[in-house]
Symmetry: C2
Subunit: 131 residues, 2 copies
DNA sequence: CTTGGTGCAAAGTCTTTGCAAATCA
DNA sequence: TGATTTGCAAAGACTTTGCACCAAG
């Protein structure tokens, strides 16, 4: 089994994702990290993100139809989904997760659910107001 | 307002998606269409898919973490989601949609839901059996 | 006819990979 | 020290665009 080293680059990325606690794109991550580590390569971001995905420390999301986001995993007790505003692109927590009941129904039919994601988009309160 | 022509290429793509009635990737679409129209360019597929999305005749999905799929829209009465098997990559219909109740809750908080998608993946009955 | 669509090739994006040098353990 | 990770540059994969020609309305 391969060993995962704890490099400065990886620590910074992980800390960033922890403190953001919201989904971030590769570019957002890169821009932030560059300010602390000016010489970091984008490929290092990609490689560390892959590594963190393998280590199950982060999740991957498609929150709108073209961008990929990554977010720190919760204490496994907290289960979170997100909603994105099509106007301001801000993300909001989804207050509840309606999948579990469905999972139950599906597992009775023999399908083993491993992962699920929900994507909801629309217009947030604030943007709706300013229209 | 721009006019949308009904070209042979577009008709073939639309018919293909209608008959498949499951999400297809650009490559799947291309491979199928080429057998009927050997000279078609992949860019024509992309452009027609964009056009069909604009016309609201098809939907775009990310059903696994890297591929994009397109599927014909239902008679607007039928509202469908899909489940994908991580083993055989087959897709199955999701029997019900649990989003509407959430939408309601969200709209009471001022968020206007425009779109939603659900992605569930796991192991289907058949693949689980063969393990 | 007139305008939008097509095929082709080239250009853009985003992501991955090869490699020598650097760094962690 | 020994092996993984880094930065850089180059290669890949996927998607978009420019343009001359074609075809739908």
């Amino acid at each position: 089994m391969e060993t995962k080293r704890n490099t400065k680059q990886k620590q910074i990325i992980l800390t960033l994702l922890k403190e953001a606690d919201k989904p971030m794109s590769i570019n957002e991550i890169y821009t932030q990290v560059v300010s602390q580590l000016p010489k970091i390569a984008k490929s290092t971001i990609y490689r560390n993100i892959d590594s963190l995905l393998q280590q199950n420390l982060i999740d991957k999301y498609h929150l709108n139809d073209s961008e990929v986001f990554y977010r720190i995993k919760e204490n496994s007790m907290e289960h979170k989904h997100f909603v994105i505003c099509n106007e301001c692109k801000k993300m909001f927590d989804l207050p509840l997760c309606p999948i579990h009941e469905i999972e139950h129904a599906m597992e009775q039919e023999g399908f083993i659910v491993e992962e699920h994601q929900i994507q909801i988009s629309g217009i947030c309160k604030n943007c709706a107001k300013n229209k």
